[in-house]
């Protein structure tokens, strides 16, 4: 039986009269990469903040390793919030050392680990440079360094790829996977980049308006939505037929989701009858993006 690192049970939270999280439950197991999904304003950041005791829960339990998180346990944690920032007037080394010390490292170890990280990301020559003198990409690497400097057992990353260019995004993903595979770190991350979830996540939870909508292994979740999404390239006008399917279309490319009990053959037949010129016809499992859109629009 897998060991639970994060346990969220019947969590509810209101701001004023607005209930933003409703009876949310899920858990994250040791060593897994777990995706926390949902549209903007669905309550992901609120849940993470409550898990880290920054917000107080109205109801329910939010536990890390079986107990409420306290900042005294920050030695096991690497947290990257969605709203990121740094001490712009401090030097790179001062910032890395400060956070490493707050996470329980001695001053000497904090400096050693800080330098190791800078070496790894090719920024060792910037150790004494003020953060505000660094480029945006370099600042993002330092931000990640603050999160990883203590080699945490648990990484909680709120939209870690937000604002990153593709190179830095790949770099981040590489480092996270390395932390997971080599150091055995558990990773909980929220994101809107669902292709990344498909690549690296073991399990996921998706919430909408503070309520859980999907939960489980990535493949299980996809299987729930069938294996018969149709992708076509075509010429002309795609005919409407809501009894048979719904679709999204752009630049003569469409993704068609059959209605219940409608087969792909029925749809192909209908399209042919309507004399649609089809250059490519492909049937497969829906992507997480498609599932996400479907769940959110329900």
């Amino acid at each position: 039986m897998p060991t639970e690192i994060i346990t969220i049970k019947n969590f509810s939270k209101s701001f004023g009269n607005k209930k933003v999280i409703k009876d949310l439950s899920f858990n994250v197991n040791a060593g897994e990469v777990f995706a926390f999904l949902g549209p903007n304003g669905s309550g992901k950041t609120t849940t993470i903040r409550a898990l880290l005791d920054i917000y107080k829960a109205d109801e329910g339990e939010l536990l890390i390793k079986g107990k409420r998180y306290s900042s005294d346990d920050s030695n096991i944690l690497g947290y990257m919030p969605e709203e990121r920032g740094m001490y712009l007037n401090s030097s790179v080394m001062e910032v890395l050392t400060y956070f490493a010390e707050l996470k329980g490292l001695s001053n000497k170890d904090a400096k050693i680990e800080g330098l190791k990280y800078l070496n790894r990301v090719d920024l060792v020559d910037k150790a004494n440079v003020k953060i505000n003198k660094l480029s945006s990409g370099q600042q993002q690497k330092i931000q990640l360094g603050i999160t990883l400097v203590n080699k945490p057992q648990l990484l909680i990353l709120d939209e870690p790829t937000k604002g990153l260019d593709p190179i830095n995004r790949n770099f981040l993903m590489e480092i996270l996977l390395e932390m997971n595979k080599q150091e055995g770190a558990t990773i909980l991350f929220s994101t809107h980049q669902l292709e990344e979830v498909e690549k690296i996540a073991d399990r996921l939870v998706m919430i909408k308006d503070g309520e859980r909508k999907l939960y489980g292994e990535v493949n299980e979740v996809k299987a729930q939505y069938g294996n018969n999404i149709i992708r076509i390239n075509y010429k002309g006008k795609l005919p409407e037929n809501t009894k048979l399917y719904t679709y999204t279309s752009e630049n003569y490319y469409a993704e068609i989701v059959p209605q219940e009990k409608v087969t792909t053959s029925d749809i192909l037949k209908f399209l042919m009858e309507n004399k649609l010129e089809i250059s490519k016809f492909e049937v497969g499992a829906p992507s997480l993006t498609e599932i996400f859109i479907k769940v959110i629009n329900e």
Binding site: G16, R49, S71, S90, Y98, E101, L102, S106, I146
Partner: protein, 411 residues
């Protein structure tokens, strides 16, 4: 290392490592000296202006109309003085001024000695210059009355008398009336001012910086708000202690090097201050700084940027230095109604109590009462600082809604 200590170290080093810290520390006493010198000089200058213009007009003719028959004409017979032309028509005197034929016309009405105003008409010499004959007009009538007295009384009148004052308090104990008794109050206030002007400003900057730079959330995932706020406040107290040590050492060096040549007219050996007074002063200073520090933490958390926080916090800073506007009154009546009112008014209380304690006018009952009041204020300030911090520190880029804030407190 304890997390509060880590924050203290960071907050302390962040400030003292800056060149601006040394510069501002050294400039602080210089600034006080420059402001004092300028204000003294400008007061002297205003006085001198009148005297200078009157001196420039020496030798010119003065028109006088004397209905009192008291003005002694011999006063104007000295060769270096003004000559006087006694006239009997008031309108004629005024016309002479209007036509610029004379510089001054003084009209002594019959009832001058019963309160009627002596009228002085002069050619315009500006705000400070137009009053140039006010003192002289009074002086001439007084001198004239004196000249009518017997010579021995005139001699007695002109004697340079000297005084010696001895004051006793309500317990019959003689109290020190020299300027030396103000040395300790002034030193206490200087330390208090360092705390309020430098430390609170650095504290506000520190909280605002973390909010403005959106670093607060990551900080709060690593330590408790209590540890963060305590670390910041103690770090800034450390900064002020460093400033006091620098300024104190500098003063000792200057005193040792130039002490013999400095004639400051204060007998330091006459300064008496008890250990209890020092303990009370430290208590008042810490509590009143703590209250102001809490206000700064709250303001820093509530406002989206340092600039806005600074502007909002100035309201509280002004309230805290209000006693300076009443300083003359506080020195004259350290237990008067204004002093009592300001001793218990939030934010101003620390400064006034500190001053009155150093003056030695606080009764034991008042020390107890004021301490209780300060503790209550500190508790209220701490409560609101924490609530504002919890409510506002993660509200990046926007001001908090005060309505929502008070609603959250009620909940």
């Amino acid at each position: 290392m304890n997390k509060t200590l880590i924050v203290i170290k960071r907050e302390y080093l962040k400030v003292v490592k800056k060149k601006s810290f040394i510069i501002s520390t050294l400039l602080f006493p210089l600034f006080i000296i420059i402001v004092s010198v300028i204000s003294t000089l400008s007061a002297q200058q205003a006085d001198e202006t009148g005297k200078r213009i009157a001196a420039e007009e020496k030798g010119t003719q003065i028109q006088i109309m004397d209905e009192t028959n008291l003005i002694n004409r011999n006063l104007f017979l000295t060769p270096e003085g003004n000559s006087a032309n006694f006239i009997s028509n008031k309108e004629e005197g005024i016309e002479a001024i209007k036509e610029n034929k004379a510089n001054v016309f003084i009209y002594y009405p019959k009832d001058s000695i019963n309160g009627s105003k002596i009228e002085i008409y002069v050619t315009d010499k500006g705000v400070f210059g137009n009053g140039r004959y006010d003192a002289q007009a009074t002086e001439w009538i007084k001198a004239s009355i004196l000249m009518n007295l017997p010579t021995d009384l005139q001699t007695a009148y002109n004697t340079k008398f000297s005084t010696q004052t001895k004051a006793f308090d309500s317990n019959g104990q003689e109290v020190d009336t020299s300027g030396a008794k103000l040395v300790v109050p002034i030193a206490s206030i200087a330390i208090y001012m360092l705390l309020t002007s430098f430390a609170t400003s650095y504290l506000l900057m520190s909280v605002s910086e973390e909010k403005e730079n959106r670093v607060m959330e990551i900080v709060l995932s690593n330590l408790k708000p209590k540890e963060l706020i305590t670390g910041k406040i103690l770090g800034q107290i450390g900064v002020v202690i460093t400033q006091v040590l620098i300024l104190g050492s500098l003063s000792i060096v200057i005193f040792l090097a130039f002490g013999k040549n400095l004639n400051i007219g204060i007998d330091f050996s006459s300064i008496h201050i008890t250990a209890l007074q020092i303990i009370i002063a430290i208590f008042y200073t810490i509590l009143s700084f703590f209250i102001l520090a809490c206000v700064m933490v709250g303001v820093g958390a509530a406002m989206p940027t340092y600039k806005e926080a600074q502007s909002f916090s100035s309201i509280f800073i002004i309230i805290s230095v209000i006693p300076f506007y009443f300083i003359t009154l506080l020195v004259a009546e350290p237990s008067g109604p204004i002093a009592l009112f300001l001793s218990y008014f939030p934010l101003s209380s620390g400064l006034v109590l500190l001053f009155r304690n150093a003056m030695g006018v606080l009764s034991p009952l008042e020390v107890i009462l004021s301490s209780i009041v300060l503790i209550i204020y500190a508790y209220i300030a701490l409560f609101f600082a924490f609530k504002l911090f919890e409510f506002g520190s993660l509200e990046y880029g926007r001001k908090i809604s005060w309505k929502d804030f008070f609603r959250s407190i009620r909940q």
